[in-house]
Amino acid sequence: MTVYPNLQPTDPSGQTRKDFQTDQDVRWCPGCGDYSILANVQRTLPKLGIPRENVVFISGIGCSSRFPYYMGTYGMHSIHGRAPAIATGVKTLNPELSVWVITGDGDALSIGGNHLIHALRRNVDLNILLFNNKIYGLTKGQYSPTSEVGKRTKSTPYGSIDHPFNPVSVALGADASFVARVLDVDAKLMPVVLERAAAHGGASFVEILQNCSIFNDGAWADISDRKTKHATQLELQHGLPLLFDKGTKGIGLDNRMHPRVVDVEAEGLDKVLVHDETNPAMAYLLSRLTYPEFPTPMGVFLSIPRPTYDAELEAQMRHAGRKATGDGMADMQALLESGRTWEVR
């Protein structure tokens, strides 16, 4: 006995960006980086070949977490920090669904840090987009766990004294299987990263560097400037050397495994590390690189195949299901009557 409707799915080939929009007014501040992210996501989704009714966006609380209201899919604007847990329930109940988590640096890394790292280690097949604006936007400007030391905010009038998290490092520490980073305004890299995240089987973690025009304007200005980004960013490409500044510089190691900048011409290309997406240690080392000492790496840090929690669960269900007769009521009755029973007459 099943009560689940068996309906004709939407033909995904006919879907366009418009199918992923809603009639709700988008309520972010003018100039907020979230607009660009929304546009990129809405542009990418039709390319994935998934009927929109099979797509679910779950968010926590924060400016970024309003995101689901603007997506013409199923969605939930849940409670602060708990989106990965709720999304885990959605995905593991129905693994057919494409489940996305939208979260902020406060939502994901402050109150929700634990759920995030557990979703990553379990490798539940979720696509987690963390909008990192290094500030609490919705609550009007307190520092966040990614805010830099010394930052003066409403709650740190004397300057913050907390050493910040590096979201990519956190994900790697939690044994994530897919980790990437991209800038809110990077319309070239973002769709690539989003498509790869969606394609990855397992939890995909994407840190999106996002500008908060009101409370932390220009937080990423030093690396987002188009004119200098060739030198301030390091674009990661699997199998290719870690080069930047138009190929004149690269990333290598010193003899104690500290990263260093290699002058390609002077030292030769072979001193430059070759990016290997399957190497967590390299991904971690790359995550430590930040502007201005190094260029900030962008793109896919890590992508390793690993069984997903939801698929393994389905496999166990199928395996156990072999014991079942197919008649749930009868099997239930058998379970009720199992163990030591006796008949009273």
């Binding site: 009714e53 689901p68 849940s78």
Partner: protein, 608 residues
Amino acid sequence: MPKTETVLDEVTIRFAGDSGDGMQLTGSQFTHTSALVGNDVSTFPDYPAEIRAPAGSLFGVSGFQLHFSSKAVLTPGDAPDVLVAMNPAALKTNLGDLKVGGILIANTQAFDDKNLERAGYATNPLEDGSLGDYRVYPVDITTMTLGAVAEVGLGQKAALRCKNFFALGLVYWLFNRPLEHTLDWLKEKFHGDVYDANEKALKAGYHYGETAEAFDQSYVVEQAQIEPGLYRNITGNEALALGLLAACQLSGLKGYLGSYPITPASDILHFLSKQKHLGFKTFQAEDEIAAVGAALGAAFAGGLGVTTTSGPGMALKAEAIGLAVMTELPMVIVNVQRGGPSTGLPTKTEQSDLLQMLYGRNGESPVPIVAAQSPGDCFYAAIEAARIAVRHSVPVVLLSDGYVANGAEPWKVPKMADLPRIPVRFATEAEGFEPYSRDDDLGRPWAIPGTPGLEHRLGGLEKQHLTGNVSYNPENHEFMCQLRADKVAKVADHLPPTAPHGDADGTLVIGWGGTFGALRAAVDQARQHGAKAAHVHLRHLNPLPKDLGEVMARYERVLVPELNLGQLSFLLRAKYLRAVEPYTKLQGKPFKVSEVLARILEAKEVAA
């Protein structure tokens, strides 16, 4: 020498020993055999809080009490008629409960200096004359067990482990029980030497009773009048898990448990983890918040979302339950109550979370509450909780407690075919779909991801009536708060009239949850004592039955016994402005029938 056989109506036995002495097993074997010979039975296991307490320590004593009778049995018995004490610590911690004139069987060998000291005895109570109030049977169980199993050739340690079967055999003899059922069980579980040794120990105990001079008589407890049918023993946690599974079959919903281990709720998780063949999924989350979050996610996706917990774990779920209230998704939240506050007394029972379940969330956040009243009843309570959740699209709290959860009783196995289905209708029609429209039960449509055309967004912000969009409109907020309250109140439309058990006037005893047996038995006994009394046991704590006020009005006195500081009393007073009389106990232990009986018989002045 032929001994006499005395016929008794009912007997309560407690087996007590070190954690390693196997008392739980002994007790459950005796229970099972008693059930099979046709007695009605009720049991109460009492484990130590520690995993492995040091041998002989007071806090390492493990007990198992059972009550069997030729009449209907409602509780595991107040005070044991028979105490089996495997060591001094067991004697020390349990003697106080033994009836005056009761039988004490003590394993003399264990009463050595070391154990006596560990138990804090200056002199050996078996020898110092301090046990004059009891019929003491000192038996050298250890030595006789070793003797009996010697020929099997087990090591000393393994041989000693058979002590409990010697004791069991002896008590079997004392109560004229057959050995066969336990032997069958042993055969199923063990092979070779271990089987042989336990069999020998069991029989040696039995024969010791038969032949020793010590016992001048044995006892017979006749068959009880029991409803015909197929029976099994069941604990509350098992029955609750089975009820959840059954609810899935009755509704056709996929079952989903999000849980985090915690005493005394963990066994529900353990049990359900094994039922994947019934399509039930379990998820051990990183904490209670993630557990209820995942259950909520599963409910959104169209499953029967369940979460199970206790004590501090319950406190942690409050925020997410609030989200379930706002999103109006059907869920079952199981709270197996334990001693509080804070970590409290994790292994002890209590009923002190009632008001928390009613009010423990920010804002006006009403949920229906259902309580289970006995181990077997957990099955039906779970189905009822699921039924309400689905019917009204609402998270429902199901209250159990440590006593019900760990207690066991013979249980008539229900027939699935006899149980009413739980109707579920997912929304599928895009035309005119509004996620917050209402049906007669004030439920809203369940439109699950995967359904084309019904894409919508839920959330914790206030919703606009019908559309479900975010709304800050003042009147809408008031309307929706009232609607959510009305919806919970609607549950009462489906309740049967309240039928007090007993007299139509006099003292009305109102209870809820795991105190059922003690209250029912006390009321029955009070009536036998000539008092006018009746009993109403509430399955539904929120909403209360519509006619409860009227029913209460028919009685001169309303007595409300609870294992807390008077939470239901508080509720009844607020709701009905009636000076009910709270009778509270907060000792981590269930009521004794005698306590409640005494209280019924002694009319008390009630302060307004």
